[in-house]
Amino acid sequence: MSKRRPVHGKPSAAITKRPVSPAARNHLKEAERLLGAGHAQAATAQFQRAVNADPTNADLRYKFGKHLLDQHEQELGILQLERAVRLDGRAAAPLLELGQAYTATNRFADAQVLLEKALEIAGKASQTHLIYGTFLHKQGKLPDAVAHFRTALTLMLEHPAKATVPKRKEDFDKPEIERLLWTTLSQLALAGVHAFAAFGTLLGIVREGGLLPFDKDIDIGVPHGELELATNCLVANGWAEVPHAFAVNPRSFLHLKLQVTIDVTGFAVDPQSGATYEGIWIEGIPAEWNRLTRWDTIALVKANSPDGSPIWTLQDAEGWLRTLYGDWRTPDPDFDTIIAAKNLCGFSLMTQCYALGRIYARWEAGNLRKALAAARHSLHHLPGDTLLREVERRLSEMVEEPPQRRVTAA
């Protein structure tokens, strides 16, 4: 949910374009060519030259700002987008892009002004509502967030995104990342943290004997009371906490050398029921609004990693996987733990935010099977929901008609 969405040029959200000066146009073309060739840094220089050649062109500033954000140059990207918005305050695309950038850095008051203006200008664009829903979600305003996600899907049904074939990334199961997992688990164990491989990481280890190739981060669990100790240990061992997190659980860290993310999820025990819970938790909202999963007693045992270093591991890893995934032995690439975990506690407002947002995002990205799976999982919890039924029907039709493979210029 925290990822920045590309604001594409839908009619209602497009920037008002003023002709670009010839010199700037040449630099812009060169920048786009370099980007297509995978030379992002060289493209940055060309974008800069284009902006220098035509400094009052809002569209150039917008494109440069987007490019900088794509390159993780957040502050510089925001500066360019702010210039774009100052130059043309009625263009929805820069408003949305800058609003997202502010949201990603928890500048909610700044984002609100822009996104509300974008709603006025481009309130009929589905993306506007999706971005606004994400903005509300991050602040814990979940009922309103759900409403905007639903509006986004409703508008998507009216103007569906063209189907494309998404690229699938399958390079997570590298030996160095697996070594990093074992090293990190051992460092945590030796520091007194009862950390264990969990979720997709555990599934990969138990079922495949290694990390899942299409996974995107390392998942570990810890007792909730040890989250701070785990944080200290990770930071002392080359990890940096990902900034501007909106959730207090799980916490994400980036390995500075390998650029791998680890999600550390705290598990907590309810004194009344004795059940164990984990999930995605935001501070300051009713507990039941959060996404929660419920577990039986979790027990760990001492073990050794493949290289012999001491670690903690789940005593009943297969049982743990069964609680979460059901039939974990049969691979299902469309399974989404956030929405479809078997031990979800109801279908909370936050889970709905994730479900609706993911249906939209996958549909938009052309990942129709995953979008359909998310819709069906959501209907499993909300069987009478007419919007979800209509989305499911539409996606079913689209999945049955294989999308034409779109060829994009390299």
Binding site: H224, Q272, A287, E288, K302, G326, G346
Partner: protein, 323 residues
Amino acid sequence: MNADLHQDNDPSPLAAPAFEWEYEGRIVVLDNGARMPTMPAFDRLMALNAFAVVVLDPASILHANKNIKELPEFQVFGHATLGSGEDAVLYACMDPLESATLEPVIAGDLSERTRLRRKVVAELPISTLRLDAIEGFDYIDWLLLDDRNDILAALEHGTRALAHTSLVDIRIPFRDAYAGQSRFLQAIPWMQAHGFSFHGFANVGHKSLLPEGKFFAKNKATRWEWADAIFLPDAARLAGMDDVRTTKLACVADLAYGMHDLAAELLGRLDSDTASRYLDARGYVSPYFKEPDTFTLTVANAPIPWQDLKVDNPLPHAEGETA
């Protein structure tokens, strides 16, 4: 000596058991240049009442320090330094802390303030003492040598005493602050030829090149001015050291320099259990090895962050669904 010692900077996140150093007698220290009283750990070390210290204070910088004079087993000899035994000259500077028996060098890049501090106001005769000629030292556990006096001369005239010395700490200059200072590349072969091996640098004096007289949001000092080179008896000499001397060396390594690995290695030569207890006390033994082989998440170790949790029952597993 029994002392309950706790390091202020103990990295262990858990409370570590105390470790008591146990040996007979005091740790004998010879400090040329009055370096020891300027150590950050000085007060903590003196509070242990475990040292017998002789300080040679050529510039008499401790002369007015009443607190030091009241310390037990702590002797200060002003206007004296180690050397060849010949008469020498004390270059008394505007700032007594800059005074030395080596002539101060006023380099071109010195700030005006440092030039002023290092300005020689008097040249006074001073007698140097040969280390081998000092009576009363059967052995030295810890020898500190400064960088403002002729260290090589002191070493050359102390070979007999050095044969019974455990840890030598030589302040090595990296800038030409005084004429004829001993260099690291001179000290290493000399010490190796006399039964010592270089262990490492313990402390480094940094100089900031940021403009003086201005205020900055933060400081940065990258130029090395000096470093304290630590020399230990070589392997053959270490193997021949008795238990008391070995323990005292471990104690100095631990208390004065925080060299826990060295201290543990030395203690391990005598008794592996003692070494293990020491490492435990210093926070090196992971709690992982102290707890049972199983761990269960409970309310105590994994408290839920809410007071009243009202959630629906989890859904039953849907048949045939897959991961």
